[in-house]
Structure formats: C-alpha cells, structure tokens
Chain length 273, copies 2
Amino acid sequence: MVDDKIMPFEQLDKAYLDRGLYFGDGVYEVLRSYDGRIFALEEHLRRFANSLAAIEITGVDIADIRPRVTGIFEKAGIANAKIYFHVTRGSEPRYHKGGKDLKPNFLLTICGLPDDTKAKTNGIIVSTYPDLRWKRCDIKSLNLLPNIMAVRDAAKKGCDEAILVDDKGFITEGSGSAFFAVRSGELCVSPLAANILPSITRGFVLRAAGDIGMKVVEKQFTTQQAIAADELLIGVTTRDVVPVVKFDGHIIGDGKPGKYTNALACEFRKFTK
Amino acid sequence: MVDDKIMPFEQLDKAYLDRGLYFGDGVYEVLRSYDGRIFALEEHLRRFANSLAAIEITGVDIADIRPRVTGIFEKAGIANAKIYFHVTRGSEPRYHKGGKDLKPNFLLTICGLPDDTKAKTNGIIVSTYPDLRWKRCDIKSLNLLPNIMAVRDAAKKGCDEAILVDDKGFITEGSGSAFFAVRSGELCVSPLAANILPSITRGFVLRAAGDIGMKVVEKQFTTQQAIAADELLIGVTTRDVVPVVKFDGHIIGDGKPGKYTNALACEFRKFTK
C-alpha cells in the first residue's frame, strides 16, 4: 500500500523495496565541481570504498563508479555542480538479515551549485545540539536522522548549521560539516575517531593551514572554548570554508569573518583551480 | 541516474526522492495478527504517534492510519499476517532541512506470518554485538543500520539474534527484540530509557509475568549475568516469546527452554485469543 493505493509486491518499483529506505542500509558521497572540474574525486571514491567495506556491501567496484560520476558530469554540462550518489545493499521485501542474492542499488543526482557568497562574506550563525548519532560516524551512511533533527532545530532558531556536542560537553562536528576554532593563531579541530566523519574538506583545510604556516591542534574542545575562540569556521564540500560569526547567540571575535579564516578560504581556493 | 539509466528529476518515481531513503527520516511499526485478529493495534498506533511527534513529522492523523491498517488486513484475508508500515517526512530533491510543503509518504506491506514453532520448541541461539545505535532508540525510526550490522554478524556466527551490549558491558536489548533473563524465579529486563525501544511485546511479557506471580526486576544486567542466568528469552512482535538456549556459545540452564519461559509464553498466548 503506497499512500492509499494497494498493489501486489510484484508491481512495486524496486525503490519501494530498497533496504536504504527500510534500514538506511547504504552509504553515500557528495562531491562538487569548480568551473568544470570535479574536486577531490579520488579522495571521495576512496572514502566511499571504506564506507562500503565497513558495512560489508560487496559486488560494487569503484572502477565502475568512477566513470558513472565523470560520465554524467560531462553529459550534464554543469560547470559548478553538486553530485550526490549512494549505494544500498539492494531491494527485497523487508528482511533484516538480507537475502543472499541481493544486488546493490546505485543512485546518483547532479544539479547546479551556486556559490554561497553571502555566507562566505558575512559569515553564518550556528547553534548547538546534542550529538545523538550512532557510534560509527566515520562511516558515511544513510542513517542521518539525528543530523536532520539537529539541523531542523538550528533552522528553527534562525541558524544555518547545528554544531554537535557530546555527553561530556565536547564539540564533535557540525551536523553536515567539519567545525574549527582559531585560538592564538592556531587551528583547532576534533581528532578523527569513530565519532567523526573523515571529512575531505577537513583534510584540505588542514593542508591549507599548513601551507600558510598555521599550527594545527587536533584536540577536542568545549562549547565554552568555542565561544571564547578568536574565530570559528566550518568546512563542507558544497561550500568549502565558511566563517562562523555567532555561536549559540554569542558573537565571535568582532562579529565579522576573521583574518585566519579568510586566509584559509583563500588558500583552499587554490586547491580547486 | 538510477543504476545506469539517466533521467530528469521530474521523471523519477517519488520513492527515489524519499527522505526515508536519503536520511532515514521516518518512523515505522510492525504488527501481527493471530487467527484473524490484529494484536495490540492501539498500543502500536500510540507508539507510532509518539515516534512521529518525537521527530516532528506533522500532518499525519492516526485516525487515518487505523482504517488503512484494518482495511488492508480485511482485504488481504490473511489470518496470521505481519503488517509493516512507515511514514516518512516526504519526497523532494535531497535537502537536509526539508522544504515547507513536504507531504508525508505512507507505505504499508502485509504478508503471511507462519508460526516459528521450531524456535519456540527448541529455543534459539544468540550472540552479542556492541550497541552502536544512536541515543534515541526509544524512537522507532528508519535508522536501523547498526541493528542490521548486529544481526548480520549474528547470522555469520550461526546465531538467530544479536544481543546488544553497551560501552559499560550492560545488555540493552536485542537487535530486533526485547531481551529477558530469569534468575531465581525473577524476570530481569533493562528499564525503559532513551536507549531502549518501548517494546509492545516487552509490555505484554511483563504483564504475563505479573499474571503468573513472577517478580519483575527492571534493572540493567551484564553479559556475565546473562550467561549465569537460569533462563533467557526474547520478546518480539513477529514471534512473541522465544526461549534462548545458548548465549555467546554458553549453554543456558540445561540447554532447553526453561519452565518460566514456557509459562510466560503460555500466559502470553492468552492475550492473543
């Protein structure tokens, strides 16, 4: 029964029997292009392979995914595009363990991605939310309800992103972004662990920091330390480096994007050329 | 792009744009019938309403869901049926916050449910797995990947169900069931909390215990305590009370379903008449 229409299983499109829908039994990636070039494709494919392996989805060859991504990107002809794709374990009538003959499902979407110049110029405001996520956030899975709850809460407060805080008061990361603080000229970020997504953008931001001579401190920090920071910023594929100027109502620095953040954004942009 | 077929968004069935698929942004229920009567419909509908409210899916009236469930049950004419249904926040191109005009999607499946007499007569064997789930397991959401990982691990070990163990060594519940121990004639079970699903079957098992004069102890217990228990059992909608005769390779009691478990199963059956 789909809404109020009744039909036999055989007539259902396989999307209605997708284990991605019933269980979130799949993993995904989001990529972008800058001016006609896909950014960090190999890094995303490598992470995707790790996610697939972590939840033991087999029968998917990265060598088959790569030409699908590049092929559709060429065909679409969108210079600045957002590319999303996922693989789920397959379709079958709902059954937790999963049948033996499951064939993974592949879904990819591509659309234009306008540059968010307003956010980059003025900075964004963020609010905190408890980190309710599971214990394997290093796997980029389709189980994103806690992230959705967080970002919807932020939106209600007029905020652009939710920053997740664990039981001990430490910031883990944004609901859909990596989160950084600048303190005394040092770039602070949570260390990678099972509760942190190994963000591709995070990696490039750290590289940018090294290139401009900023020391990187990979250590957990609290909301109090974030409020007291000189600058805050997030990193996310679709918008790269975005300054954060307000955190839970507290103005950060002088309320404008800081010099280190701007320098990181500028350095980051070089990677994309 | 669905597998290798490319099409515009407009031609996609809405199932491919379901927030249930991208985020697990939905909640579900599983019910059963015994001999032509749906069991505990109101209890399931009440829990479903709680789940919807917890993730703030609005625009769904339980008064509209009830006749869909009873209507399809009558139409299907399956005396012993399993009924699954879920509601997701709606379909749209992937967007975390969700658009304002989202219309929730409803999906229901019904099929025959043969009685698992073998499991009930001989008991099942179970293995443990870390409880990797999120912090709101009291919401019956579509984010079930950690449950899937657990039950797939159990299946690899030749086990029927995975029993989840938290960081401190305490058992929370089964990957798809409530878990109980009998010690000195007392029925032990984890207390309801944010890390436990308020299982309908659990409620009826506790009621059955009261009816046969068993004391109920709602307190966390460890894997060591489970192994040392006189009897172990699980409770799950699709199979009600099932004895557990082996736990992580350790034989429980004399390796046969115990007298308290059998008494609980017998008492439970009365509720279903």
